[in-house]
């Protein structure tokens, strides 16, 4: 176990700035997820930590030590690549053994080490195969096993589940936290999948365009996304974003959707009269009966049943589209007119111009289980 600190990292390729004054620190034993869209600079950052790309400016400290003059092989790192990067001319055994052979361990020790990690990843029966004889899942496990085999204090996992099928990804998402916990290593995990990020990260660093936009626990990020973009990235289906201008009433601050008032308790008074965007998670919206308090009339446009939930697209009177999500199997309208209700306590308000979060109505929300 070790710590990782990045200080003011800058990386440019030709005229393009890939990493822009980026700082980050990962605590001993922590799993940090680097989350962001492709092109955000996650992979570059990871490779920089690994020591195969050099930063133009800034410092990388592992365990408090400056890595500027330390080559990749001396950084004590295990890394799994998105494309697996298995050695095609070596058997799975030799692939996994590579971190062990580097330390000149004895043959028996190597064999034992490989066996152990192979068992853990359930690939001990294919160790003699070459990569091209392995299934995609086996390749992925071999790549992971190779990263783990040397018991490195710092593990870098570059979207290791990206190139495997959904079933396997689901399995591994369940299995990985256990594995990583067993390793006890400090982990930096790169992913584009917010569910993976939330499932695995002690903290999540959200990256875009070479910067870290927000860093925090999964709950913090889900419940208080720093800006509209982050709010969009987290959550499936994506958050509903509607232009509003908050007003102040006798009961406090509210916004209107199709002339129906939605109270926003706990919002600062400064938002009143400002052009804002309200963010409403689809799962925070429910279908209700006409006449119920706060019922908003809508027309159901389409219904999409997903695995564990059903997503419905509805249209408000003012022709604004809203997504509503409900657990699969619960009743709801499939077409025609309907009514929805919004719990103002779950809403976010963003500044329309900057996109920054002004306030989240309830940071104390307890529904993150549903979001995952």
């Amino acid at each position: 176990m070790t710590t990782l600190q990045l200080k003011n990292i800058v990386k440019r390729y030709k005229s393009q700035t890939v990493l822009d004054d980026l700082s980050l620190s990962v605590a001993d034993g922590e799993t940090l997820v680097l989350f962001g869209p492709s092109g955000a600079g996650k992979t570059v950052l990871l490779r920089m930590v690994a020591g195969v790309i050099e930063p133009d400016e800034g410092q990388i400290l592992i365990g408090g030590e400056d890595m500027a003059e330390v080559d990749a092989e001396h950084r004590g790192i295990g890394m799994a690549f998105q494309n697996f990067a298995l050695f095609p001319h070596m058997s799975a055994f030799d692939n996994i053994a590579s971190p062990l052979t580097a330390t000149r361990s004895s043959k028996d020790a190597i064999a034992a080490g490989v066996q152990k990690v192979a068992k853990l990843l359930k690939i001990d029966h294919v160790l003699s195969h070459h990569p091209k004889a392995l299934s995609n899942g086996q390749k992925q496990r071999t790549a992971l096993a190779r990263a783990l085999a040397g018991s490195p204090p710092l593990l870098l996992l570059d979207d290791p589940l990206r190139n495997v099928d959904a079933k396997l990804r689901f399995e591994m998402r369940l299995e990985l936290p256990r594995l990583l916990a067993a390793q006890g290593a400090t982990v930096v995990y790169v992913t584009q999948d917010y569910k993976e990020a939330m499932a695995l990260g002690d903290r999540i660093a959200v990256m875009s365009q070479g910067r870290i936009r927000q860093i925090g626990t999964p709950a913090e990020i889900y419940l208080a996304p720093a800006d509209i973009e982050i709010a969009r990235l987290f959550g499936d289906p994506t958050i509903n974003l509607l232009d509003v201008v908050p007003k102040e009433g006798p009961d406090g601050i509210y916004v209107e959707l199709s002339d129906v008032r939605i109270a926003l308790p706990g919002m600062p008074g400064a938002v009143v009269g400002k052009s804002c965007v309200i963010g409403l998670r689809p799962e925070a919206i429910v279908f209700t009966k006409a006449g119920a308090p706060g019922a908003i009339p809508v027309a159901v446009e389409a219904e999409t049943p997903l695995n564990e939930k059903t997503v419905t697209l509805v249209m408000t009177m003012r022709k604004r589209e809203v997504l509503v999500s409900r657990p699969a199997g619960t009743p709801g309208p499939a077409s025609g007119p309907a009514h929805i209700a919004v719990d103002g306590r779950t809403a976010f308000l963003f500044d329309k111009q900057s996109g920054a979060l002004i306030a989240s109505a309830a940071a104390s929300m307890t529904r993150n289980g549903e979001a995952a």
Binding site: D71, A72, E73, N83, F87, P88, H89, A102
Partner: protein, 285 residues
């Protein structure tokens, strides 16, 4: 998948036959010639009916050539040995020098790398005569004239650019991540180069080496100008049968056959590298 009509089959077969005939006939004819005496070779019209003789090969191998002017000593086997030594050594040196350089150009886009690579390649295209003439003088001063060392150096002009250019393509086709993975696993760049890059580029290196060998083997003018008789390759040696007292056609033919044999043997042995090796990525874009 592909539908082949009878007509096409016949067309392909005929075309292939004609091609094989065109490319193989001269070699076959020379092969037959090498088992004939001057007398049967010079018959008009030519004929394939003759009593084979091993005289020509015997003369070449023993180094005694009987001609109109008596017995001549010839050093053909020595020439053959020189060719083998010069070609093998030159290709070996070119591999030792060229493969790491090719690796550097493929993996590290460093300042001026493209320019250096192009400069190296452009040597392949410099007319050999241009450098050869002043070179004789410099070799004289440096004491490199008439040394195998000097010759092998000059042969780099043929081998090195070829190897650089082809092998570089191979290295570029190896995923960089595979190498990164090995380094991150704790191995030095050198171990990575040796255990990952080299084996993966192996077929390409073999193919490039084979091509370089062929070109080195076929060279004529370098050794002639720069070295004494005991270091001449077979390409010069074969001219020894054109003597003032007559042309020994049979021996020339036998010499040609013997001089093709080593490259052919290597090519047959390494054929899968040559065709398959080149196809992996050597020259592709």
């Amino acid at each position: 998948m592909e539908t082949t009509s009878t007509f096409e089959k016949i067309f392909r077969g005929t075309a292939l036959l004609l091609i094989v005939l065109f490319f193989m006939f001269p070699i076959l004819w020379i092969f037959l010639m090498s088992f004939q005496t001057n007398e049967t070779i010079l018959r008009i019209p030519p004929s394939v009916v003759f009593t084979p003789t091993f005289e020509n090969y015997q003369a070449l191998i023993t180094g005694k050539l009987t001609s109109a002017a008596g017995t001549l000593d010839i050093a053909f086997m020595r020439n053959l040995g020189n060719s083998v030594f010069l070609s093998v050594a030159s290709v070996a040196v070119a591999l030792v020098l060229g493969v790491p350089a090719a690796y550097a150009f493929a993996r590290h886009k460093f300042r001026g790398s493209e320019d250096i690579a192009f400069t190296l390649l452009s040597f392949r295209f410099a007319p050999p005569l241009l450098v050869l003439l002043p070179l004789t003088q410099y070799f004289q001063w440096l004491g490199l004239a008439d040394t195998y060392f000097g010759l092998i150096w000059v042969y780099q002009l043929i081998c090195l650019p070829l190897i650089l250019w082809i092998v570089r393509g191979y290295f570029e086709d190896i995923s960089a991540d595979v190498e990164y993975a090995y380094r991150i696993a704790g191995h030095s760049w050198f171990a990575t180069f040796r255990k990952i890059a080299l084996p993966l580029a192996g077929p390409g290196i073999a193919a490039a080496g084979l091509l370089a060998f062929i070109f080195a083997w076929n060279n004529f003018v370098f050794a002639l100008v720069l070295a004494s008789a005991d270091k001449q390759p077979v390409t010069v040696g074969a001219l020894a049968f054109v003597t003032a007292s007559g042309i020994q056609y049979g021996q020339i033919a036998a010499a040609i056959v013997l001089s093709i044999t080593p490259t052919l043997a290597i090519a047959l042995y390494a054929q899968r590298y040559l065709v398959e090796g080149l196809s992996l990525g050597a020259v592709k874009g």
